[in-house]
Amino acid sequence: MPATKRGTQINENRRRWLGGAGAAATVLTLAPGVRLLDLALARSEEEPVSERVRWGMLVDSTKCAQGCTDCVDACSDEHGLTGMGRPQTDAQYIRKLDLKDKTTGKAYSLPLMCQHCETPPCVDVCPTGASFRRADGIVLVDKHICIGCRYCMMACPYKARSFVHEDLTSQVPETPRGKGTVESCNFCVHRVDRDREPACVEACAQAGHNALVFGDLNDADGALARKLEELPSRQIREDLGLNTGVRYHGV
């Protein structure tokens, strides 16, 4: 089936579905300005991802509400992360951190996930190349060739990765995950490849916080670059020179 024809079909189906269910909330997040790429940059289904794009995110800690876990919940829902009631071994792709400045006592709240480094230590150490960085900057685990050695978990300065400690049966089609392999935030790559935002960003916007901005770091006119220009931001463990794809404002 040609891509264009198929695309139309999807849209027709979406329209039909939305009409029936009247779920307006989802459409709002797809409103103008939130669209990920200009039409000129959008790639067809057969086209591989390229280095022209580098996906990134800005976390505006000043807008991140203490105690709010909408992004975490959305992530769990999106990727089918069901806890086993063992917090030490349950997987977390994204987690909320509560910080308190030891001198001023000022409190901060922010989500932490895979920082999608430009030079990721996890990719350096992985013996099989299962841990890799896609051309568009998304750091992934190819679970087909992950042997579960956990060297990447030792190497990650953000403790962003989890090891699957048990057999799973609750996987969702978009996020295959299984016992004995390592996993982490993948920027919802299945959504990004279909021109949509990661689930956490969508959830944060739905909750009205808008603390997360996702976009193309290479696109000077894009929403993310404009935001980065406007707000001062930093990288966590900037001393390591990893040039992270996730930046933080207000901490």
Binding site: N13, W17, A23, T26, T29, P48, V49, P173, K179, R191
Partner: protein
């Protein structure tokens, strides 16, 4: 005499063993035709899946022709209560032949064995539903 000693058991065996040959009969898929001829799929389905897996994983190419999710959408059956049955359950499409030929599948430790079960979705995840290929296929008339 010597030959009788050999032939007799053979003939006895023949009498006992002559029976229907067990041959797997995987359930037919939904569509009219698979994405490749059956003869090709029987030999090389794993080559297609491996190729597609690397293309998708490393190059972000999400064409659907050889995608495992698409296999599921055609080949999973529903039980009496309308819920999908895992494709690797005994007797189901994948397991039927793999059990027969003693091949273990390493797909479904990680990959979902059914399309998204529509009943289990909450209203919150409408957005995800919309982009879900399998869901799309099943609401088609």
């Amino acid at each position: 005499m010597r030959w009788c000693a050999i032939l007799l058991p053979a003939m006895l065996y023949a009498a006992v063993a002559a029976a229907e040959v067990p041959v797997p009969s995987p359930p037919r898929g939904d569509g009219a035709q698979c994405v490749e001829p059956t003869e090709v799929m029987r030999r090389d389905h794993m080559k297609f899946l491996m190729h597609q897996r690397d293309e998708t994983m490393h190059r972000g190419i999400r064409t659907t022709k050889h995608s495992l999710v698409e296999c599921l959408s055609c080949h999973t059956r529903k039980d009496d209560e309308g819920r999908f049955v895992s494709i690797n359950a005994p007797g189901e499409f994948c397991q039927e032949c793999h059990a027969y030929s003693g091949v273990t599948m390493d797909c479904f430790g990680c990959h979902a064995t059914t399309p998204r079960q529509p009943t289990s979705r909450s209203a919150q995840s409408l957005g995800r539903l919309l982009s879900d290929t399998s869901f799309r296929l099943h609401i088609q008339p």
